[in-house]
C-alpha cells in the first residue's frame, strides 16, 4: 500500500461509505456535548421521535455558561444568577437524564471545559474520531484522534446515526525542529505558526504537527497546539502517537482495560504518518528562533515576539492588509511602532481550553511564586480547566501561590474566554489572556485581548505590562512546591 499520512489512516479506518461527489459517511467514536450547542439537537431528536444511536459514545459537561465564583457554584445549577444561562445548563442536565447520557454536571469533580475533560477522562483515545459542537474540538487531535468541530444539525446527526457527513481534506505538515528556548512554550509555537501561515493558511487542510520540538512536548503542550489549529483555519490538528501519548492515557477512567491494553497500544503505535507519505503542503519552523509571543491585534495572526513592536500600517504589503492593521490598532488603542513591553494591562486571565491544564498552571505559578500582582492591574484570575485540575493544583499548593500573589482562584469553566458568564472585560480594557481568540468583543464589549502563554500572562500580571518572561528568575520546579 502507498505510504499514508496519519490523517489518511484515520479517515480510512472510519469510512462507512462514499458518494460519487466525495461526500462520505464517517463513523464517530466519541461525541462530547455541552450546554450551548446541544439543546436544539436533543429537541430535534424528540420532534422526529429518534433515539441516540449509541449512548456510550457520548459524554457531556457544562462549561460555557457556568459561573466561576464559589458563592454561585455552591448552590449548583439553581444558584446560577443569569436566568438564560441557568436554563441552558439545566436543559443539558435534563436532556442527559432523559436520554441516558453520561454527564458531569456543574458541581461534579469531573466537570470542566469539554476539551480538558475528554482527554483527562481518557474519553479521547488515539485512533478515534471525536466530534463536539465547538470549533476547538481540534484539541483532541493531540492524541492522534481525528477530531472535528461541528454545527448543531451535525450534533443531532451524530446523535442519531453515529456518523458525520464529510469531505476529505488535504494534508498539511507543520514541522517544528530544534529546541525551544527557556521560557518558550507550546503556546508560543502555535502563535508563531499562525503568524507564519495566517488565519486562513490551514483552510481545507488537516494539519499534522511534527518535528523534534513537537515530540519534546508534553500532552498538555500538544493539546495547546492542536487547540489553535482552528485559529490557523484548519478544523483538524494532529500529532502522531509516541510513548508520551501512551503514558498519558494509562490508568484513566475510559482507557482500555488491562486485558485490552496491549492490543490497544500495539494498534496505537501504528498511528503515525508513514515515511514518504505525501503532504500537499509543508511548513517548517526552527524552534530555537521562537520568542515568547504576544498578539497586538484583533486576529490571532496579528502576533509578534515580545521584543518586537506594534507594526506600522504604512509598511503593509497590500491595501487590504493596511486597512486591517489600521482598524485593529484603532480598536486596540495602540500606535504604530509602540514596543510590546509598553502595553499596560488592566486584567489578566489564565484559563480556557488552550491553557488551563495542570502544566499551564504550574508554569504560571512558577512565575508568580513569591511575587505580587501589580497594583495597576484591576483583576488577575486563574480558572482551572476542570474540577480535577483544580484539585491537583491545590494538592501541589499552586492555589496558595496564586492567592498570595494576588490572583483570584476560581471554579472551572470557560469563563472570560468568551464572556458568556459574568467574567468579562470592560470597554477599552487590555487583557493578557491565555485563551485562543482576540476577536473584537470576544472577552466583553469593547475589550482588548492579547493572547499569550500562561508564563507570559503571569509575568505581565506582576509587571503590570508585558515583559519577557525569560528575564524573570524561575523558582524551583513546581513539584517541589507541594513538599
Amino acid at each position: 500500500m502507498a505510504a499514508q499520512t496519519l490523517y489518511d489512516k484515520l479517515w480510512d479506518s472510519h469510512l462507512v461509505s462514499s458518494r460519487d461527489d466525495g461526500t462520505s459517511l464517517l463513523y464517530i467514536d466519541r461525541q462530547l456535548l455541552h450546554e450551548v450547542t446541544s439543546p436544539q439537537a436533543f429537541e430535534g431528536l424528540r420532534l422526529s421521535g429518534r433515539k441516540p444511536w449509541r449512548l456510550d459514545a457520548n459524554l457531556a459537561t457544562a462549561d460555557h455558561n457556568v459561573p466561576t465564583t464559589l458563592i454561585e457554584r455552591r448552590a449548583g445549577v439553581a444558584g446560577i444568577q443569569d436566568d438564560v444561562s441557568r436554563i441552558q445548563v439545566q436543559t443539558l442536565d435534563d436532556n442527559c437524564d432523559d436520554f441516558g447520557i453520561e454527564l458531569y454536571s456543574i458541581n461534579d469533580l469531573r466537570q470542566g471545559i469539554v476539551h480538558v475533560v475528554g482527554p483527562e477522562q481518557g474519553a479521547t483515545l488515539p485512533g478515534m474520531t471525536v466530534v463536539c459542537g465547538d470549533s476547538h474540538t481540534s484539541t483532541h487531535g493531540a492524541f492522534a484522534a481525528l477530531s472535528h468541530g461541528i454545527g448543531t444539525s451535525e450534533v443531532e446527526h451524530v446523535l442519531a446515526t453515529q456518523c458525520l457527513l464529510q469531505r476529505k481534506m488535504k494534508n498539511m505538515q507543520v514541522r517544528v525542529e530544534g529546541e525551544l528556548g527557556r521560557g518558550v512554550t507550546a503556546k508560543d509555537i502555535v502563535l508563531a505558526v499562525i503568524g507564519e501561515i495566517g488565519t486562513a493558511g490551514g483552510t481545507g487542510y488537516a494539519i499534522e504537527f511534527a518535528g523534534s520540538a513537537i515530540r519534546a512536548l508534553s500532552m498538555e503542550g500538544r493539546m495547546t497546539i492542536c487547540n489553535m489549529a482552528i485559529e490557523a483555519g484548519a478544523r483538524v490538528g494532529l500529532v502522531a502517537v509516541d510513548q508520551t501519548t501512551i503514558d498519558y492515557i494509562g490508568g484513566r477512567p475510559f482507557a482500555p482495560s488491562a486485558e485490552q491494553w496491549e492490543a490497544a497500544v500495539a494498534y496505537w503505535r501504528g498511528l503515525v504518518s508513514d515515511p514518504g507519505a505525501h503532504f500537499d503542503k509543508v511548513v517548517e519552523l526552527d524552534a530555537s528562533t521562537i520568542e515568547p509571543q504576544v498578539t497586538w491585534g484583533t486576529s490571532p495572526e496579528m502576533v509578534v515576539g515580545i521584543s518586537g513592536q506594534v507594526p506600522d500600517p504604512a509598511d503593509a504589503e497590500s491595501d487590504t492588509r493596511r486597512r486591517g492593521i489600521e482598524r485593529a490598532l484603532e480598536y486596540m488603542g495602540l500606535s504604530a511602532g509602540q514596543a510590546i513591553t509598553d502595553i499596560r494591562l488592566d486584567r489578566v486571565f489564565i484559563g480556557s481550553c488552550t491553557n488551563s491544564r495542570i502544566e499551564d498552571l504550574r508554569e504560571a505559578a512558577r512565575v508568580a511564586k513569591g511575587r505580587r500582582v501589580a497594583s495597576t492591574v484591576k483583576q488577575a484570575m486563574v480558572v482551572p480547566g476542570s474540577g480535577l485540575v483544580k484539585k491537583q493544583a491545590e494538592k501541589e499548593g499552586l492555589d496558595k501561590v496564586f492567592i498570595e500573589a494576588g490572583f483570584e482562584w476560581r471554579e472551572p469553566g470557560c469563563s472570560m474566554c468568551l464572556a458568556m458568564n459574568a467574567d468579562k472585560l470592560g470597554a477599552g480594557e487590555h487583557c493578557a489572556s491565555t485563551s485562543n481568540r482576540n476577536f473584537e468583543g470576544r472577552q466583553g464589549y469593547g475589550g482588548r485581548t492579547h493572547l499569550v502563554s500562561p508564563a507570559m500572562a503571569a509575568a505581565a500580571a506582576i509587571a503590570g505590562h508585558f515583559v519577557d518572561v525569560r528575564e524573570f528568575d524561575h523558582t524551583p520546579a513546581p513539584q517541589a512546591l507541594s513538599a
Binding site: 472510519h14 462507512v16 461509505s17 459517511l25 463513523y27 467514536d29 450551548v36 439543546p39 436544539q40 429537541e43 430535534g44 420532534l47 422526529s48 429518534r50 444511536w53 449509541r54 449512548l55 456510550d56 436566568d83 438564560v84 444561562s85 436554563i87 441552558q88 436543559t91 483515545l125 485512533g127 478515534m128 454545527g151 448543531t152 444539525s153 443531532e156 446527526h157 442519531a160 446515526t161 453515529q162 456518523c163 457527513l165 475510559f254 482507557a255 482500555p256 482495560s257 485490552q260 492490543a263 490497544a264 494498534y267
Partner: protein, 213 residues
Amino acid sequence: MQKFVRKAGLVAPMDRANVDTDLIIPKQFLKSIKRSGFGPNLFDELRYLDEGFPGQDCSQRPKNPDFVLNQPRYQGASVLLARANFGCGSSREHAPWALEDFGFRVVIAPSFADIFFNNAFKNGLLLITLSDEKVDQLFAELYAQEGYRLDIDLANQVINTPSGESIAFEVDAFRKYCLENGLDDIGITLEQADAIRTFEARHRASQPWLFRG
C-alpha cells in the same frame, strides 16, 4: 423535516440587499435552548420599536407599523421575495429556524450566502435563485396586487404567477429529493443503517476498547 407540499403561497417582500443573519435573528436569541419558537423574533430589530430579549412576550411589544410583515396584507405569507446576498453573515442555524417558524417555506432572491444556503435546505426551506430582472418583475407584480400568490411547483421546477406565466428554476437533484420526501440528512443517512451496523461490528471487533457497553 416536513415534506415540501405544493400550494399557492401568499408572498411578502423583503426589499433590501445583503440581509444578514443578524438581521434575521439577533444574537441575544442564540442563548435559547430551542430550535423552534424563533418566529416571533424573526427580523426582531425591524419588526418592533423596542429592544428584544429572549423569553419576552412579544405580543405586548410595540410593533413598527411600517415594517412589511406587520402589514395586514402580508399576514400568513409563506413565500419571501428578497434581494441579493440574502442570509450573509454568521453561520447560525437560527436564521432558517426563525424563517420556518414564522411560516416561510420558500425564499426567492437573485443570490444567497453560502452557509445560509446549506443551512436552509438542511431545515426544509426551499431557496430559489432567479435573475435580477425576474425578481424585479415579481416585486412589481407583488406591490401592484394585494393578495399576490405564487404557486411553487417543486416537482416541475416552475413558479406559476397569477397572470399565468411559468418561470422555471434550478434546484440540485439531491436537495430536491430530500425536500420532496421530507428527508433531512439524518433521514438519508439512516437509509444506510445496515452499512453503519456492519461497519460498527467490524470496528468493535478490531478495537473493542472503543465500546463500553
